[in-house]
């Protein structure tokens, strides 16, 4: 049937063939199956998709323009709202980009703490994506099970920064305060209980006959096409290319950690699911290694870099010490000029290479702040991935690509 569609695409060709009537289906911006606000106007031949036209921009909030009028520390809450399923990854990536521009030296303890936060965010993001693939095949209970684990991660973030979803975690130079006892208790409890939970998820879904039938050979893309379309992250690794920014250009001491980069073969939905599944196990292993390294360190007090110019002094000092008061004033009022220049920094976010291109003219706010958003770049390939496939396959392909509307539009 699929081959017939490719050949008989012209509706006027009646001689000896069936007449195909094309219907326009609007998988509109508000739709329970598209997890986010974006529109696909699909031209359908029965259940098969002939073509689709995409519309995005429903949640465009002009971050790049706003960033030109905000101080560097004020842009942090904007980065939360790009990939809102894993805000700490966006936050930490942005802060590392600014620290690269300013030339700040970050202490090891802070780097390990950041790695724990980033890997927790990666686990949270992949949790959502994998359970949503399950939801789109009809397995709704896995979603509710996995959200319990996401709750545990939310509680850890809440102890660190006060917020659950849009975290604005960290500041330029490190964190705003040291982690309290409760954070450590929750973190250790999480790493002890999570393997059981993830195994339960795997038992429910990974070898399920119906799930395999729905996801194997669905929405495949080849490695050359994926590279040409600018794919990164689990979507690219599912096609067989082992490109991971943590390995090629290590940042934040990732070179000291021991982890595997899982790689698929065909780039179909099943491979994307399996790559994300294995990445969750690897993230858990990295968190355990980081906790071990932090426990082995004598220093339990450092939580930010030693920089008077860019790191806010502690409030008690501001109210009692003249020098701290002056530095606080200078930072807030923008009296400290960052260096002129431009940098590009990239991290491995939940969806791939999240890049920050910051052009500084020496002023309080960046001259140009461009976010390289992985979702925006790989979503272009969606029409090609679903051409000639069934509508239900298209929905599963969409959810397995993990398209988050906030990162699409920014």
């Amino acid at each position: 049937m699929k081959e017939d569609i490719q050949k008989n695409i012209d509706p006027g060709d009646v001689a000896g063939s069936e007449i195909h009537e094309f219907v326009t289906l609007n998988v509109g911006p508000t739709h329970p199956a598209t997890h986010g606000v974006f529109q696909n106007v699909m031209t359908m031949d029965g259940e098969y998709i002939v073509d689709t036209e995409q519309t995005i921009g429903y949640i465009h909030r002009a971050f790049e323009k706003i960033a030109e009028r905000r101080a560097y520390y004020q842009i942090l809450p904007l980065t939360d709202r790009m990939n809102y399923c894993s805000s700490p990854l966006n936050n930490t990536g942005y802060l590392m980009a600014v620290e690269k521009l300013l030339g700040l030296e970050i202490p090891k303890r802070v780097q390990y703490m950041r790695i724990i936060i980033m890997e927790l965010a990666r686990i949270a993001d992949h949790n959502v994506c994998n359970s949503v693939i399950g939801v789109d095949t009809g397995a709704l209970t896995v979603f509710t099970y996995m959200f319990q684990d996401r709750e545990k991660i939310y509680e850890i973030w809440e102890q660190v920064c006060g917020s659950r979803l849009t975290t604005s975690i960290g500041r330029i130079g490190g964190f705003e305060r040291n982690w309290n006892e409760k954070t450590w208790t929750l973190l250790r409890k999480f790493v002890k209980e999570y393997p059981k939970s993830l195994k339960e998820f795997e038992n429910l879904l990974m070898r399920n006959r119906i799930f395999l039938d729905r996801t194997v050979d669905v929405g495949a893309i080849s490695a050359e096409k994926a590279l040409n379309y600018g794919f990164t992250g689990p979507n690219l690794r599912a096609t067989g290319v082992d490109y991971d920014v943590r390995v090629t250009s290590p940042y934040c001491s990732y070179e000291e950690f021991d982890f595997i980069v899982p790689v698929g073969t065909t780039g179909d939905t099943h491979d994307r699911f399996m790559v994300r599944e294995e990445e969750m196990w690897q993230s858990l292993s990295i968190i355990n290694q980081a906790i071990a390294k932090l426990d082995a360190m004598d220093d339990k007090e450092t939580f930010n870099a030693d920089s008077k110019a860019y790191v806010m002094p502690a409030k008690e000092k501001v109210y009692n010490d003249m020098e701290a008061l002056i530095w606080h004033f200078k930072q807030v009022m923008g009296e400290i000029d960052p260096p002129k220049g431009e940098i590009y920094h990239a991290i491995e976010a939940g969806n791939g290479e999240l890049g920050f291109y910051i052009v500084s003219d020496g002023g309080r706010s960046p001259y140009r702040c461009h976010f390289r958003r992985p979702c925006f770049i790989y979503y272009q390939a969606y029409p090609e991935m679903i051409k000639g496939n069934l509508l239900s396959d298209a929905i599963i392909t969409l959810s397995s690509m993990n398209v988050i509307a906030g990162e699409l539009d920014a």
């Binding site: 995005i56 921009g57 465009h60 002009a62 790049e64 323009k65 706003i66 030109e68 009028r69 690269k100 096409k225 590279l227 040409n228 379309y229 600018g230 290319v241 490109y243 090629t248 250009s249 220049g341 431009e342 940098i343 590009y344 990239a346 290479e353 890049g355 291109y357 052009v359 140009r368 461009h370 390289r372 925006f376 770049i377 979503y379 272009q380 390939a381 539009d409």
Partner: protein, 170 residues
């Protein structure tokens, strides 16, 4: 910091100078990234050259964005970040154009990823990309008649009556 692969960077500079000569206006290393400013007429040939070269292999377009310098004669720029995955080397290529002739040849023939990136640059700055299959606005509404990221367009709408910012420091 990205590690610079000295050999590959020197080879890139040499080959570009050999092949394009005058059209490579400047080359420098900005912190950890080699940067080339080139004339816009040869930009697609340059991208194709770097793509096809068997040793250099810059086959991944990381990102592409527009930029506006209203004080320069060549006001609008487009900045490409390329990445050679095999050699693990990134480069930045800048090309500028004047406001009178605000066009830059489209790179969609070389990189399929450039499709939406060019639409975004058009949407924000009004830079036209001849050769693009479908150049229309992507993130803003279709009937918008100005280009919001240009420096002359203010961040907030000056005609609003309902907000009084006199007592709020900006």
């Amino acid at each position: 910091m990205f590690i610079i692969n000295q050999e590959i960077v020197e080879l890139t500079s040499e080959k570009l100078r050999q092949h394009f000569g005058e059209a490579i206006l400047t080359e420098e290393v900005e912190m950890d990234m080699p940067v080339y400013t080139v004339k816009k007429e040869i930009i697609v040939d340059l991208l194709r050259f770097l793509f096809d070269d068997e040793i250099l292999r810059y086959r991944f377009l990381t990102t592409m964005c527009g930029i506006h310098y209203p004080d320069n004669k060549q006001q609008f720029g487009v900045i490409y970040h390329l990445h050679s995955l095999e050699n693990n080397q990134r480069i930045r290529i800048k090309t500028f154009t004047t406001i009178e002739d605000i066009t830059i040849p489209s790179a969609t023939a070389v990189f399929a990823a450039a499709n939406w990136m060019e639409r975004e640059a058009y949407d924000f700055y009004g830079i036209q990309f001849p050769g693009h299959p479908n150049l229309k606005r992507i993130l803003n509404v279709e009937d918008m008649d100005y280009f919001p990221m240009r420096k002359e367009y203010p961040l907030e709408d000056g005609t609003r009556q309902d907000k009084n910012d006199d007592f709020f420091g900006r």
